[in-house]
Symmetry: C2
Subunit: 895 residues, 2 copies
């Protein structure tokens, strides 16, 4: 150990690097993260207040050696201090020109607040008096002094911080002020005296202060807080901490001094121009505290033009060096600029996109790096309205629910779909549709409304799915919300909102506000976003498709960059006003002729929808899924029917002539009950329905192929892919394929046209994934339905769970995240991998995609990339996000 | 091909074997199965009517050569015929002593009825006249003649068989008789004449008959029927058929002739003594037709003592040779015994067991072979009552449903549980409980009844599960049954059965009978069964445990050979009369104190049950599963409550004072609705319940450990294994284990005793299987819950499916078998394998078993053996079956 170098000046970083074999990680291990960075900035020529770092090795030697400095260490510290005195021209303990230093811990990995800091070391009565003369600011000097005593008392002497705080409080009370910064200088002087009494071991000798503080920081490595933190964060206990001793500089030494914070680019818009705030003759905390009005950084060019130019040059140098927009603290002490700190700057989504794009164009970073710099969810900002920052400041928050469909919406509370539609369409009033939960026959109201708010339901409830599909902001499952449908009110914590009152909802955060908040509407055509997404498109290997049920969705999806449709839910078309009666007739009848007639009535509607989709997606593939949900979903609910039945029975008992109505309700109820299943999610739906009612499959297939032939005849390029839902056994597919191909051949023969198509299946049942090698014998493509696959793999009914035990699981940490939001890698991810391997073993060119909600979730997209999928399909509003996420996955894991 | 041997006499089988390189399969390929066997019997010295086989090679050469005999073939046939003439002393076409032969196809694999046969070849007018003189039986002779013409006409000449049948029918009508065998000789003579007119190509020359018949049999290999059969059965098309030409022998040539059928052992009881039926001076078909009263085989010892002795010796020789009980046809022609056929004999379950055990004791077969000779389901015979064969002959079948719990039951139809219990317990009358479906609060009636009959529900409905559990015969899902609860009747096809009428149900076949059928009650203590099962126990490597909820079940299970309990469903104990109110109170209350009180009330009951189980299973492991079903199952159904609510509202409308009752019903209904889940099977149950209501887990754990300590204190050896249901994520287990171990430690501290226990989990959710490596970190044992695992892996709700699309799937062949009856190997089997591999990778000594219904299914048991499970657990009544099935699996796939 003799001859070991325990101390590195900030200007000796090159030596440390040599010592670490040229490895910057080694430098960080030796000097800690903070010490390494201070050294790095110093080497860069940035004016950092001079100082030095006592190494982590010194810390470990100190702790291992029974809390004694290793040989030579203290000598090196004194020597380094001497160099600092020389370079600053100040002297430790010299009242005429005193050097004050800070003593801060700095481990290899950041452990914010876990270890100790002592500021203003070097202060004592004489130095304070001298400094007061120098600065003319007694308040500042004695505040600094009392801070030293307080920190020293707590950190070094182990005095509880409360005893100091009590004294401060007493003085505030006596002075009749609310904050310490309002205490006058005289009181601060008195406080210093009292503090000194409370910290009897406080040394007046500056070097003694420094020695004790350094030792205290070493010891804090093994403090309980630090150990707990390392255990939680998984940081090794044998790293030790370095200690950084740095000159204190002061921006309050007259009008030639200043202090401020600044960004190297505009953090709100991303404009490439430094921006910030500063104060002349002030301390750093004055800028943050907001007591004095700060000035915008531009004015520094007038106030201290030389300093401004220096700072601008340094900001540019730091940005070039770190290749990232910087957030800096600076102080000007009597005409000398010091940079106290620099780090990557926080920014808005809009700024993040522009800065990344600009930096790539400037050649500062590569296009790949630019793509990696923007979080996919930040793209959301360009797709949905947001509340303005000003309006949020004064907003009154009512409640918080699940943020299931992003964007801000403002409107009149409307408690049913018809009213929401009437207000919106007839009266031209914006509305928020409020319901306990939504059902398929609420869709017209949801479409007309600006946003949707429900008190029940989870992330994949009907309301959430429909809202995301149509890009309507939605907040669901707001349990605090008590909706009284009879009174047409909702109540939150005693506050009653009536129908027609203004409310605002934020689907991005899940917050519900009272009143009418102002919104800002960003735009996807932002040129920097377009540029960034075009780079993403070049990088990604995953294709991106959209889930779209209507031509208008398909058109939007294409505008947003979708490369086809990954899922059309044909049954959604069944819920429209003029179609539902035909669907219900088909379900209610037991007469094959009547059923055939009802299906024939539906055919033209389906065909027209498909034509619209094919036209919108001209030249691109369109996956059409045959009917999936259980039939009872198309009938009125048993609860509603029972309610009606009870009312009628009571009327009858009172003498009303309602026998005919009762009989009718009983008839529908009987059919609803006959269709009732204990677990409809695992019941007669999907391909099972197609096998039980093959004429339904035939009608849908006819509609698809008639539409395809019609559009092809117009000159369109159609690529239909017919998809079977809920397959669990290869034979289901084989059976359905026979029905389908016979009908398709017949239609094409009738039309005299050949249309190329593919036949495939959803993979949403574990058995289909496990037997994917067999399933691929009859499927030309797979599409993972990860909503249902997550339900069946976990054995969880999502709607039941998300309003129940799943929330408890997330609270208790039993699950780290909601598997319906982000794909569960060990379970669902593993079974997906088995399916990919099995399917491709049988059919190497098998097209594989995902069309569950996860298709729009960045982390799930990364998993899909890793699994080798061909595409992801998501809501049109998530297409740009998916494009970016897919590119990031490709960069992180090249195929 | 020149020099090829195309024809083998039955006495040349050794030569054929040499030709085939000593490979018997090769002999079968060359001579066909029938030809090889006839040769085999001949070599054995069994008197088989002489003949020869034209090889399959000859057939293939014939077909390949444009339907011409290959060179030398016909010469060899004539030569072989000459040898037959010589050995029989008869001559082809000689009216004085005519040789008649049959010509039959015989391929390598049996294709019953698929190819052609011609009998009585060698007959013409002169031979017929001679034979009539010889036998004195003109009727027989001309019947034989007309058969030849008819078969030849149809098979060789391609005349439709109908034209012959029309002639026969005309004659029957004219003679006023119902069957051909009643036609007098004169008519048969006339028929021959008419048949000859209808078959103008019929050759009178015997050798020409033979040649054409042989060629026809060759050609029949490529007949449509045969090709279709081979396609269906997966038999190759290039094998060809052999042709067997065999001397016809006649048992009706006077009193020195006879014909009969016999078994080498008693086919009903298994007694080692030949038994059978015969007739003197008769043809084989007379014995089968039942027109003349047959004599028991013993009397042959008086009628034809030498023949009897010869036959007995041959039967013994054949049994020794084939090492299997034989079913033989024989004919005595004028003092000469001929064996026409021998094959393995069909037998009853009882006989199968005794024969296998006896043969092993006799040293004829090994014990392993004996164990393999009995089908596991045959053991069921010894466990359940059966209808007597006599009673079944006259029984009137009402309907057929699902055979969900085996055995026969007879009783008075009782339409509710209370009545069933009263009749059985108070009035001492046997009852069959009849319900549309059963629910937990029907259990007391089910226990009191002899059997259970429901019109709804599937193989895993409540009725089926409970019935199997308690060994009650049950037939469920009898859709034809229309139960009118108001009228207390059930109607099947117009027939009305009133409450109190006698009915009989067969849970083994699923048939429901009207009236009171007689039953026989076999006994598991059958000595041969005991012997066979003890051999099975020596062979098997899988252990067999039982699913038992009550001490009485556990005792029975142990009697039947269970080696522990694999599943105790603790919640079943909750349904008993005095406990249910406490359970309901626990569910209805929202007050923690009230809930605690209810749980405290339940504790002594649970503890007492567990004590009983531990005592019954002294020294053996007992797996206790914590509560599994969703709480709403313990409350009245929403439908019943709604019905009651409607009645009350109507009463109220009519002026009744029922406000209080309405409020009460509304209260319960509200709680039931709050607990309502869209898919309860995937909802708040199992471990989820334990996490939501940890006090419930604690109560159950306390009951288990208090019981264990109490029994251990008595000197009992207790091995509790605590099992968590429905785990999908390792953290659920980790969380529950903490709750459990804390409580267990506390109880053991209170009791001052240490009890060794294991902690484990059901594997019944795909995710648990997929992440078994993680799950095994906290589980010391796995138990596959294959009912739920099948549901989740297939995405099928069993109750919905078994009364719906699953039946359609089975009909359509989309599924080959019901996956709830036999484990689905490619899907569920694969995920089980992943779980076994994952679990053992983490914990090599992980104990793994199965406790789903599949644990008692022989084919599923074989899969469990293959997967390397440690044990299977099944209903006590299936334990003996499982012991046998496990042994068979071990023999077929040694570990």
């Amino acid at each position: 150990m003799a001859g070991t170098k325990w101390v590195y000046g900030f200007d000796e970083v090159a030596e440390a690097e040599k010592q670490a074999g040229g490895d910057w990680e080694g430098v960080r291990a030796l000097l800690g993260g903070k010490g390494a960075n201070l050294g790095d900035m110093t080497r860069l020529g940035v004016p950092v207040p001079p100082g030095y770092t006592v190494t982590t090795e010194a810390c470990l030697a100190y702790l291992a050696g029974g809390e004694a400095f290793p040989p030579g260490c203290w000598d090196q510290i004194e020597e380094a201090l001497g160099r600092v005195e020389k370079s600053t021209g100040k002297r430790f303990g010299d009242p005429e020109n005193p050097l004050l230093v800070s003593c801060r811990s700095g481990a290899k990995f950041s452990m914010p607040g876990m270890m100790d800091t002592v500021l203003n070391i070097g202060m004592n009565d004489e130095v304070a008096a001298g400094l007061a003369r120098l600065t003319g600011d007694e308040r500042f000097v004695y505040d600094s002094y009392r801070r030293l005593v307080q920190m020293f008392g707590a950190v070094v002497l182990g005095q509880p911080d409360e005893v100091f705080e009590e004294v401060l409080e007493e003085h505030r009370r006596e002075a009749g002020v609310a904050t310490d910064s309002e205490l006058p200088a005289e009181r601060l002087k008195a406080i210093v005296v009292e503090f000194r009494r409370l910290a009897p071991g406080f040394p007046t000798e500056p070097k003694e202060q420094l020695r004790l503080a350094t030792e205290a920081v070493f010891r804090s490595w093994n403090g309980k807080r630090a150990i707990d933190y390392r255990n939680a964060a998984g940081i090794a206990h044998d790293l030790g901490t370095a200690v950084n001793i740095q000159t204190m500089v002061f921006g309050n030494m007259g009008n030639g001094s200043a202090t401020g914070v600044a960004m190297s680019r505009n953090a709100t818009t991303g404009e490439p121009k430094i921006e910030g705030d500063y104060l002349i003759n002030a301390q750093g905390e004055d800028v943050v505290a907001g007591i004095r009005a700060t000035k915008p950084l531009e004015q520094l060019a007038d106030d201290l033009p030389e300093m401004y130019d220096q700072f601008a040059a340094i900001a540019a140098r730091l940005e070039r060096h770190y290749r990232e927009m910087q957030d800096m603290e600076f102080t000007v002490e009597r005409g000398k600029l010091w940079i106290l700190q620099t780090r990557a700057g926080k920014r808005t989504a809009q700024a993040a996109v522009r800065i990344a794009a600009d930096m790539a164009d400037e050649g500062l970073i590569t296009r790949e790096e630019a793509v990696m710099r923007v979080k996919p969810d930040q793209v959301d900002f360009f797709l949905h309205p947001q509340f303005s920052a000003e309006s949020l400041k004064e907003a009154s928050q009512l409640a918080k629910g699940l943020n299931v469909s992003p964007g801000a919406a403002v409107g009149l509370a409307a408690f049913d779909a018809d009213l929401a539609e009437r207000w919106a369409k007839v009266d031209g009033k914006p509305t928020i549709m409020v319901r306990p939960e939504t059902k398929p026959d609420d869709v017209h109201g949801m479409l007309a409304a600006e946003g949707i708010l429900t008190s029940r339901g989870g992330r994949t409830s009907h309301a959430a799915l429909v809202a995301r599909q149509f890009g309507k902001p939605a907040v669901v499952g707001v349990a605090e919300l008590d909706i009284d449908m009879a009174a047409r009110t909702m109540t939150v914590a005693g506050q009653v909102i009536k129908e027609g009152d203004w409310i605002s909802i934020d689907g991005t955060s899940g917050v519900v506000y009272l009143g009418r908040l102002a919104t800002v509407v960003p735009d996807i055509s932002d040129p920097w976003l377009m540029k960034l997404l075009s780079w993403a498109d070049e990088l990604r290997t995953l294709r991106v498709r959209a889930n779209a049920d209507y031509p208008v969705d398909a058109e939007r999806a294409r505008r947003y960059g979708a490369e086809g449709i990954g899922l059309t839910r044909t049954e959604h078309m069944f819920f429209e006003t003029e179609r539902l009666p035909l669907v219900q007739k088909m379900i209610m009848t037991t007469d094959p002729a009547e059923r055939a007639e009802a299906l024939e009535g539906l055919l033209p509607y389906q065909r027209a929808d498909f034509e619209g989709l094919f036209r919108a997606m001209d030249g691109l593939p369109v996956i059409i899924r045959l009917i999936d949900p259980p039939l009872h979903e198309f009938l009125p609910s048993a609860a509603d029917l029972t309610k009606r039945f009870i009312d009628l029975k009571v009327e009858e008992a009172k003498g009303a002539q309602v026998a005919a109505e009762i009989a009718e309700v009983e008839g529908v109820l009987a059919r609803v009950e006959a269709l009732h299943e204990a677990n409809p999610m695992l019941g007669t739906r999907g391909v099972r329905l197609g096998i039980m009612i093959p004429e339904l499959t035939r009608m849908q297939v006819r509609a698809i192929f008639e539409a395809a032939c019609n559009v092809a005849r117009e000159g369109g390029k159609v690529h239909p892919e017919v998809m079977i839902p809920l397959t669990s056994h290869v034979n289901e597919l084989k059976w359905q394929r026979e029905v389908l191909e016979a009908e398709a051949r017949q239609v094409m023969a009738e039309q005299g046209l050949q249309v190329d198509y593919m036949f495939g299946t959803m993979i949403e049942i574990p058995r289909a994934a496990l037997t994917a090698d067999e399933v691929a014998q009859y499927a030309e493509f797979f599409s993972f339905g990860t909503n249902d696959l997550t339900q069946t793999t976990f054995g969880i009914s999502r709607d039941d769970a998300e309003s129940g035990f799943l929330m408890r699981y997330l609270q208790e940490g039993i699950l780290e995240e909601n598997p319906f939001a982000t794909l569960d890698r060990p379970g669902v991810g593993r079974i997906m991998r088995l399916a990919v391997e099995g399917g491709r073993a049988t059919r190497p060119d098998l097209e594989i995609g995902i069309c569950g909600e996860h298709g729009g979730d960045p982390r799930s997209i990364a998993l899909c990339h890793e699994l080798g999928l061909d595409y992801v399909s998501c809501s049109p509003f998530r297409v740009p996000i998916a494009r970016l996420a897919a590119a990031q996955a490709a960069v992180e894991m090249p195929r």
